[in-house]
């Protein structure tokens, strides 16, 4: 069976090599670059200096904190907004389940950039939402949504909502209705049946959704750039600018790697305690 033994390796090999060459190895280039010093004109030399890290953190520590905070808020918003809908679709939508799931996914056929730009138009001070309210004096003169932290967090929640709804839905679908029936038969009220049975059983979905929302939301830069004001800069914006505007590759790499490290702690912490299964399933 010589051939048979090697067949799976041969089949996995091309994909594995691709990921190795364009995912794992680049990460190590990033680490290497983050320890170099120099400038674009004279080139960069490997000096194994930590200065890029200390300097980056000193200048942008607050920005890191803000990114994680916005990512966290967006994740909470996604749970609050997404759970009831996932619940309704999983248990009460009947034969229209796939239709509703499709309706929730439909907006995401439009390019991420286009959607975010469209939000600028919607949220504008005199736009379709606030314009009429303002004309009737229903909001104070100085009130605005666009270019605020609120707009950034809502934009993030908007953009990553399906990553929350789908895993919760999958988890809820996995619950055997008989367990709920059993709870009801034992005289649990509706709220009790939900709180003691459904909610705990759906938590793996919530956690999977949380990791799938929190990680990309904290690292996002498009939303903050399009919808945020001067006080809403996220670390993604800084990293992008350091690469492209300043050409300060080592500093940019150091900031990216710091972000990677922080998120890796979250990701691996998650994988260790809950396993990779829920995330991989939700990704399908």
């Amino acid at each position: 069976m010589g051939r048979g033994r090697f067949a799976p390796y041969l089949m996995v090999l091309p994909a594995g090599l691709w990921l190795l060459a364009f995912f794992l190895i680049p990460l190590s280039f990033m680490i290497s670059l983050s320890l170099q010093t120099g400038n674009l004109i004279d080139g960069f030399q490997q000096t194994l200096h930590w200065r890029n890290y200390t300097e980056g953190l000193n200048t942008y520590g607050e920005t890191f904190a803000r990114s994680l905070w916005y990512g966290f808020l967006a994740t909470v918003a996604c749970i609050v907004l997404g759970y009831p809908a996932a619940y309704w679709i999983a248990f009460r939508a009947g034969h229209r389940q796939s239709t509703y799931l499709l309706l929730i996914l439909l907006p995401y056929f439009v390019s991420f950039v286009l959607r975010t730009v469209a939000w600028r138009q919607v949220l504008s001070d005199h736009g379709p939402l606030l314009g009429p309210l303002r004309d009737h004096g229903l909001v104070p003169e100085g009130f605005r949504v666009l270019d605020t932290g609120f707009a950034v967090v809502s934009g993030l929640a908007y953009n990553f909502l399906p990553f929350m709804v789908l895993p919760i839905y999958v988890a809820l679908r996995r619950i055997d209705p008989r367990t709920v029936e059993a709870a009801r038969d034992l005289y649990a009220g509706r709220a009790q049946a939900f709180g003691r049975v459904v909610l705990p059983l759906s938590l793996p979905g919530v956690f999977a959704g949380a990791i799938l929302t929190f990680v990309p939301a904290s690292a996002d830069f498009v939303t903050a750039e399009v919808l945020g004001g001067p006080g809403d800069t996220m670390i993604g914006n800084v990293i992008r600018a350091e690469y492209f505007e300043s050409g300060a590759y080592p500093v940019a790499s150091a900031l990216s790697f710091t972000l990677t490290a922080i998120l890796l702690v979250a990701i691996f912490g998650y994988a260790r305690t809950l396993g990779t299964r829920n995330v991989l399933e939700a990704a399908r």
Binding site: Y60, V170, T233
Partner: protein, 398 residues
């Protein structure tokens, strides 16, 4: 549904060994540094043996050419050179980031001609030897028709590497529907009563210049201490909530909708706005004039064709239709008379538009206007790094 998809490996414990092995292999590969490049090419050496190839690839900013590409078609007809035109430059920083790697490796960037604003990145390109020295023997129309203030600029003495494409003024635009006083001064951008209604630019040179104007400093003669003081003022303006956002060019949309009431602005943008509510002023403290320049990357495959286009554009009759569309300041002053002549021949709305254009101080500034304008400062490599760091921190909220 495949709920059992991953049964059997429910817990995927982290295998440090696997990860480390992969990462280790990568680190060995990644140990080398990034090479820089510093030498320059001499003019004669560069042009020796170069001939016209009948092809030209031109990278420009969006909105810098008629939608129907009339000017390019006219040039193609006159010269027989086939032009590939791309509007792919959107910001100087990212553009520099894109061309830096191929130019450093002495590879073609896919273009023979590009338009760069005088500023930190153009200066970098000059110093890095990324630009071809121009052969002025083939730029007779430039010599004959370029305005005096466009020749021999401080950022490129002797027009060694660049000739201007269009120029513009940085000033203040305000929406008269919301602002009921007259805006004349940069200090009004710092007025707390416009809290959350002021737009500033994210470009560090533009932003820094306005900070310095407020303090009465001429940016061209500024020092590091001046930059820090200016940054302090700008930071205070930001932290007190006056600044709504640091814009690239999208302030145009914001000021015409009324999201911001007053904002730093570029003359041509405001001129081409159809909204009658938005007005543009050159503040009394000063405004800046900047120039977008035609230049040839040193690795261009068709540099002679690029020179042909540069020179062709300096014929006033060729330049006029472009200016009529772009609405920025043309480096060819004779265009004004041609626009006026076009206006005299036109009728109705078109006549009104062309007359307004030929009379506009934004497109054809008077000498006294020009005297009030300041130029961008030139930086050494070290100065640029310090300057960037100071003002980027302001824009990035740090």
């Amino acid at each position: 549904m495949g709920a059992a998809a991953l049964d059997g490996d429910r817990r995927c414990a982290v295998r440090r060994r696997d990860v480390l092995r992969l990462a280790g292999a990568g680190l060995v590969l990644a140990a080398c540094g990034v090479e820089g490049r510093g030498e320059r090419v001499g003019g004669d050496e560069f042009w020796a043996g170069k001939t016209r190839n009948g092809r030209l690839r031109w990278a420009n900013w969006p909105g810098y050419m008629q939608d129907d590409r009339a000017t390019i078609k006219a040039f193609e007809g006159d010269s027989g050179i086939d032009v590939t035109y791309r509007e792919i430059i959107q910001e100087m920083g990212p553009w520099f980031g894109k061309i830096q790697a191929p130019l450093a490796a002495e590879q073609s960037i896919g273009f023979d001609l590009m338009v760069m604003t005088n500023g930190i990145h153009l200066e970098r390109c000059r110093r890095l030897g990324y630009l071809a020295p121009l052969d002025h023997g083939r730029l007779k129309n430039f010599a004959a028709h370029a305005g005096a203030e466009f020749k021999d600029p401080s950022y490129d003495p002797g027009n060694e590497f660049t000739v201007p494409y269009q120029a513009g003024i940085t000033g203040i635009a305000y929406n008269t529907r919301y602002v009921d006083e007259e805006i004349t001064s940069i200090s009004q951008l710092f007025d707390p009563r416009y809290k959350g209604r002021v737009g500033m630019m994210s470009d560090t040179q533009e932003l820094g210049n306005f900070g310095m104007f407020l303090l009465g400093i001429d940016p061209e003669k500024s020092t590091r201490a001046d930059w820090e003081r200016a940054a302090g003022k700008l930071r205070a303006q930001r932290d007190s909530g006056i600044v709504r956002k640091y814009y690239e060019q999208n302030y145009v949309d914001a000021v015409s909708k009324g999201d911001v009431w007053l904002t730093m602005a570029w003359s041509g943008d405001v001129y081409s706005l159809t909204s009658p509510d938005v007005r543009f002023v050159v503040p009394e403290e000063g405004g800046t004039i900047w120039t977008d320049n035609l230049c040839v990357p040193v690795t261009a495959e068709n540099p002679v064709d690029a020179l042909a286009l540069m020179d062709w554009l300096y014929v006033p009759e060729h330049n006029a239709p472009l200016t009529e569309f772009v609405n920025y300041i043309t480096p060819v002053p004779d265009v004004r008379d041609i626009v006026a002549r076009h206006a005299a021949r036109a009728t109705g709305e078109e006549r009104a538009d062309l007359t307004r254009l030929s009379e506009s101080p934004l497109v054809f500034p008077s000498e006294s206007d020009m005297a009030r304008l300041r130029h961008y400062r030139r930086f050494s490599q070290e100065e640029a790094a310090v300057y960037q760091k100071i003002f980027q921190a302001v824009v990035r909220g740090a």
